[in-house]
């Protein structure tokens, strides 16, 4: 069994722990992802799934443990990590008073990308008809689609998706899945926080369940469990 070296892993997290006040949400999560892998993260409400994702996205710091994303340390090289990841948050993070197009134009400017590609993205996510309407009037599904569109402006090597399927209709689900497949085929790795397996079942290589602040791995139904040396329990 070959254990991948850190430098080739997309995500290499060891003993990540984080507390809020005096209670620990994450107690030591160890997780490794290779490029091209899609891993689902499951767990009940409050099990720390979003927190773990935000730590990997360098938005918050772990109180213990280390993690490398694309070989860069999240604590010491956050800028390099941010350049590699695409983070889809639970809240869309859009500007209500700007139109859909303006939100994407703003993102393009911040990413130093060409603004002319924005309309193509809007079409791909099915919002071209609403391009000139302020986001304030959008349904949560439409906002999610716009957030996905913003993700398309980045070319991430690691996808960190927090419940990406919530609020999406079946067309949206297909959109999300086809995008994930495209990115993964291009070599990206994806860590997807899920409430339920169904929308992503075909995509996942395996799942990880967060319980009591630690990770337990189960292979997804159809995949080969060999070659996955993980989990903190019993080690």
């Amino acid at each position: 069994m070959v254990i991948p070296t850190s430098s080739s892993l997309a995500i290499d997290a060891s003993d990540i722990a984080r507390r809020f006040g005096a209670s620990w949400v994450l107690r030591g999560v160890t997780l490794r992802l290779s490029p091209g892998e899609v891993v689902g993260v499951l767990g009940v409400n409050g099990s720390g799934k979003s927190t773990f994702l935000r730590i990997l996205a360098t938005l918050i710091k772990p109180h213990a443990g280390t993690a490398l994303v694309c070989g860069h340390d999240i604590a010491r090289e956050p800028e390099e990590v941010r350049a590699q990841i695409g983070y889809l948050a639970h809240t869309p993070g859009l500007y209500d008073d700007l139109t859909a197009r303006e939100n994407l134009i703003f993102a393009a400017a911040m990413l130093d990308r060409d603004e002319r590609g924005v309309d193509a993205i809007l079409e791909r996510v099915g919002l071209l008809a609403y391009a000139s309407q302020p986001v304030r009037g959008f349904s949560s599904g439409m906002q999610r689609r716009l957030a996905i569109g913003r993700l398309m402006l980045i070319r991430p090597k690691v996808l960190l998706l927090d419940e990406p399927y919530s609020n999406l209709d079946s067309g949206g689900l297909d959109l999300m899945n086809s995008l994930i497949s495209e990115w993964v085929d291009a070599g990206a790795a994806a860590l997807v926080v899920l409430h339920e397996l169904a929308p992503a079942a075909d995509l996942l290589d395996r799942t990880v369940t967060l319980q009591d602040g630690r990770a337990a791995t189960k292979p997804a139904m159809h995949s080969d469990p060999a070659g996955i040396p993980l989990a903190a329990s019993g080690r």
């Binding site: 935000r54 996205a57 360098t58 938005l59 918050i60 800028e79 941010r82 350049a83 990841i85 983070y87 948050a89 639970h90 809240t91 869309p92 993070g93 859009l94 500007y95 209500d96 008073d97 700007l98 303006e102 703003f106 993102a107 400017a109 911040m110 990413l111 130093d112 302020p134 913003r150």
Partner: protein, 228 residues
């Protein structure tokens, strides 16, 4: 990241803030209305004797702008906090200084426009005669606005994300702005009284020094303050 990219980002942020502000309708109008109301309140508190009001005009104008400005500064971060946009903002690669620069520009535009309106109303309400040296006055006002906006934008980055933000921002900001307040008010009084260059000049130099010192200091410190 190249300077050109930083400038593009700063411009984008300023444009976003101002566009959102313009469209929200609630923001600018109500803040300016508040400033004018405060000005009127000063008139009631200090008047109606014409001389007393005229003497108090510079102070009343700047205080009105200060109090209303606090709302504006907190609002400029509110727009990021409401939908969770601040996280996305931090994740864009490149320095945070562009964020600070963009918000500075947007807040400066906001406060400048507010100052113009409040000064106009103040001139009327407080029976101020416009001095011949009014270009110098404009210069003083601009320098004062820069100081106000610099510290206001900086402290609001913290206050807007803490508890009791309405109280914390003035508590942090006002004592720090004492030099700006004194300089702006005294220089204004000197120019209004025809008592020209020496007094006003010294205050102007103090204002400029203040602005430079704190522009540099806040730019250096912003990175560590905007991170979560």
């Amino acid at each position: 990241m190249s300077l050109r990219h930083d400038w593009r980002r700063a411009r984008a942020i300023a444009w976003k803030d101002l566009t959102a502000e313009r469209r929200s309708k609630a923001g600018f109008n109500s803040v300016v209305a508040l400033a004018v109301t405060i000005l009127a309140m000063f008139g009631f508190a200090l008047g109606p004797d014409a001389q007393a009001i005229r003497d108090a005009a510079p102070g009343a104008i700047w205080l009105a702008v200060l109090f209303a400005g606090v709302l504006a500064f907190n609002r400029s971060y509110q727009v990021e906090l409401d939908g969770g946009a601040l996280e996305q903002l931090i994740l864009y690669p490149g320095g945070r200084r562009a964020i600070f620069a963009g918000k500075l520009l947007a807040n400066f535009a906001f406060v400048s426009l507010m100052l113009v309106i409040v000064i106009a109303v103040g001139i009327v309400l407080f029976q101020v005669t416009i001095p011949s040296a009014w270009p110098a006055l404009v210069g003083i006002v601009i320098c004062g606005a820069v100081g106000l906006v610099t510290l206001g934008t900086f402290y609001a980055a913290m206050a807007s994300r803490s508890r009791a933000r309405e109280v914390l921002l003035p508590l942090l900001l006002f004592p720090m702005l004492v030099p700006v307040l004194l300089a702006a008010i005294e220089a204004t009084k000197a120019l209004l009284g025809g008592n020209i260059m020496s007094d006003a000049g010294a205050w102007a130099r103090l204002l400029v020094a203040f602005d430079v010192v704190f522009l540099v200091a806040t730019f250096l410190a912003f990175e560590s303050v905007i991170e979560v």
